[in-house]
């Protein structure tokens, strides 16, 4: 009961935070924020960060990090683009790209779990490696996928439902729902929670710690690949620098959402809302008329102030 309220309270607080921001922005620039257009724009851009942040949430819960996701995104999207250009088949390209994401995640998992390299440094290494590899293969030249517009795979993943709603937002919602079930209602999620809480305890209770950790990395690889494909499809273009800008946004989304940096606890709902908050701040500031360098400053201020309010209100009424 108490815990239920506790967990709900956090969810409610972060939702209130989002609503507060939206109200603030709507007051500051009603023309923009009372018009559905900006929300359509958000729905087409936020899903990419959100999907990455959702995967990262599971990794953070199990006590790991993945800093290689920007490169995995780009590499899987490169596989997608090349395969699509070569075969013309969206399904084949999609399958290959997801498989490559899984393999890259698996490699991260092997290095971290089997060899025992701390995940931060291992994934910095693989980040460099994959980025280098795709730069080498692509010679740093972007690939135009103009021909993908109008194909099935395009409308399936980044089309517009009812001519309005970007389909990727529905995919993102579906993934969030699936991961929420996985984390809170599936034995795999239970294993993630226990391993992140105390790895030794988890091993003592018979949880296959190594396997579960590797699977979490694979899942992150698959989700990164999917996010990369979405980004590439949406823009009908692959760039060699793809994904580089997501790093801070993804981590900010996870931790604004209320997931603990110490592992063992995490909230999928919080991350989703967190990704939305992080995704709208900049546009909100710009449309409010704060331009140029003010954007950065106010961006930082909004993050600090909103999370501080949230942290103050979420604090438990007990000593520790």
């Amino acid at each position: 009961m108490r815990c239920l309220w506790e967990s709900h309270r956090r969810g409610i607080l972060v939702t209130l935070g989002l609503i507060g921001l939206l109200v603030l922005f709507a007051i500051a620039s009603p023309r923009t924020f009372l018009n559905p257009r900006i929300y359509r724009s958000f729905l087409s851009t936020i899903p990419v960060t959100a999907i990455l942040a959702l995967g990262m949430t599971l990794l953070v819960v199990v006590g790991e990090m993945d800093l290689s996701f920007p490169s995995v995104c780009a590499a899987a999207a490169y596989v997608f683009a090349e395969a699509f250009l070569a075969t013309g088949s969206g399904a084949v390209a999609f399958g290959l790209a997801i498989a490559s994401g899984a393999i890259m995640g698996w490699i991260n998992g092997l290095i971290v779990v089997r060899i025992g390299v701390p995940s931060i440094i291992a994934t910095i290494g693989t980040q460099f490696f994959w980025r280098g590899l795709i730069l080498l293969l692509s010679d740093g030249i972007a690939l135009s996928l103009a021909s993908v517009r109008g194909t099935d795979i395009y409308s399936l993943f980044v089309g517009r439902m009812a001519g309005e709603i970007p389909v990727q937002s529905l995919w993102c919602l579906a993934i969030a729902l699936g991961l929420a079930l996985l984390l809170n209602r599936h034995p795999f999620g239970d294993s993630l929670l226990f391993i992140g809480d105390n790895r030794k305890t988890a091993a003592m209770m018979g949880i296959p710690v190594a396997k579960v950790r590797i699977k979490a990395f694979i899942l992150m690889g698959v989700l990164s690949a999917f996010a990369g494909i979405l980004a590439t499809l949406e823009l009908a273009n692959w760039w060699p620098t793809q994904g580089e800008g997501y790093m801070l946004l993804v981590f900010a989304s996870v931790f604004v959402g209320g997931t603990s940096a110490y592992g063992g606890e995490g909230t999928i709902y919080g991350t989703l809302i967190g990704a939305i908050i992080i995704g709208i701040i900049e546009a909100g500031i710009v449309s409010a008329g704060l331009a140029g360098f003010w954007t950065r400053l106010v961006h930082g201020l909004i993050i600090v102030v909103s999370v501080s309010i949230y942290a103050t209100m979420a604090r438990r009424p007990q000593d520790m």
Partner: protein, 305 residues
């Protein structure tokens, strides 16, 4: 009569990161134009990321500005549906810095123009100027440090490499890592290492404004005396000017980024008001060397050149 831009709102993508040396000058030009014309300017930053440019553009569309200035880097295919939507809604769009060869003729009558250098030609011009001023022979080793992975920006490096190779020089190309891109000091050991391994290197070209400004520090650390190596680069800044004065830097190509910002905002406002077609202006062509640096250096300190 009031200012011609009275009441207008111009959305401006400065392209680079917050505080980037090059795009800050572009933005300064835009700001000056906005002040001169009396219009409102909304500046956004894209960290040179094509995805971010597109995302910003989408959000910008939702703000319903009168005009929008974009960098061409994401390319024709990525921009086409968005630019079409904007123009259909009566928003004037124009490109700077990187050309959009397909969109520009398509929408030129609606005010879509291009202000900026032709990357390829700028690189080619610099390489030719270097070959003209320097005393290079076939087989001489040259070093080019650039950003090929930013495709359109990379065209400049590719042009330099091609021109030099055509002239018979041996070119070592190095990609600028994201770390060095942000903190140029990290490049010092790389140059030292490279020059120690390749003492026969006669020519260094920094295809990057911030790295150009550090040439003096790099060469000093590598134990190279001023003038020993022909060093060239792009964009002017106070540090670049002092490197020229000290003699480490021989030649700088400057395509007057201030004008990119100024002219594009000017054009957008005039088009919106009077329906002019898009302007195409090549701003490249300026070279700075020891001969003319004293005239230009004070402007660099103000963020104009």
């Amino acid at each position: 009569q009031g200012s011609s831009g009275e009441g207008m709102k111009v959305w401006f993508d400065s392209g680079g990161p917050v505080g980037g040396p090059y795009n800050t000058i572009v933005a300064n030009g835009a700001k000056q134009a906005a002040t001169d014309l009396g219009c409102e300017l909304t500046l956004v930053y894209s960290d040179w990321s094509p995805e971010k440019m597109i995302e910003n553009f989408k959000n910008g569309l939702a703000m319903n500005p009168d005009g929008m200035v974009i960098y061409g880097s994401p390319g024709d295919d990525a921009y086409e549906p968005l630019v079409r939507e904007a123009i259909d809604r009566g928003i004037v769009v124009t490109a700077i810095d990187t050309e959009l060869p397909r969109l520009q003729p398509m929408f030129q009558s609606k005010g879509f123009g291009y202000i900026g250098p032709d990357g390829w030609r700028q690189g080619e011009d610099l390489a030719k100027e270097i070959l003209r001023r320097g005393d290079f022979k076939e087989g001489d080793r040259a070093f080019v440090w650039g950003l090929k992975r930013l495709e359109n920006r990379g065209r400049r490096a590719r042009a330099i490499i091609k021109t030099l190779e055509d002239a018979g020089l041996k070119v070592d190309y190095l990609e600028i890592s994201p770390e060095v891109d942000k903190d140029t000091a990290l490049g010092t050991p790389i140059i030292t290492g490279y020059l120690s391994s390749n003492p026969d290197c006669k020519l260094m070209i920094m295809d990057h404004g911030a790295l150009t400004s550090q040439v003096g520090n790099y060469l000093r650390a590598a134990g190279v005396k001023p003038g020993e190596i022909f060093a060239a680069g792009f964009s002017l800044s106070p540090a670049t000017a002092s490197a020229i004065e000290e003699g480490y830097l021989t030649l700088v190509s400057e395509h007057q980024p201030y004008l990119l910002g100024y002219l594009s905002v000017l054009q957008v406002v005039q088009t919106k008001k009077y329906g002019f077609g898009g302007l195409v202006v090549d701003t490249g062509g300026g070279f700075v060397s020891a001969e003319n640096v004293d005239k230009i250096a004070p402007l660099a300190a103000k963020g104009i050149r």
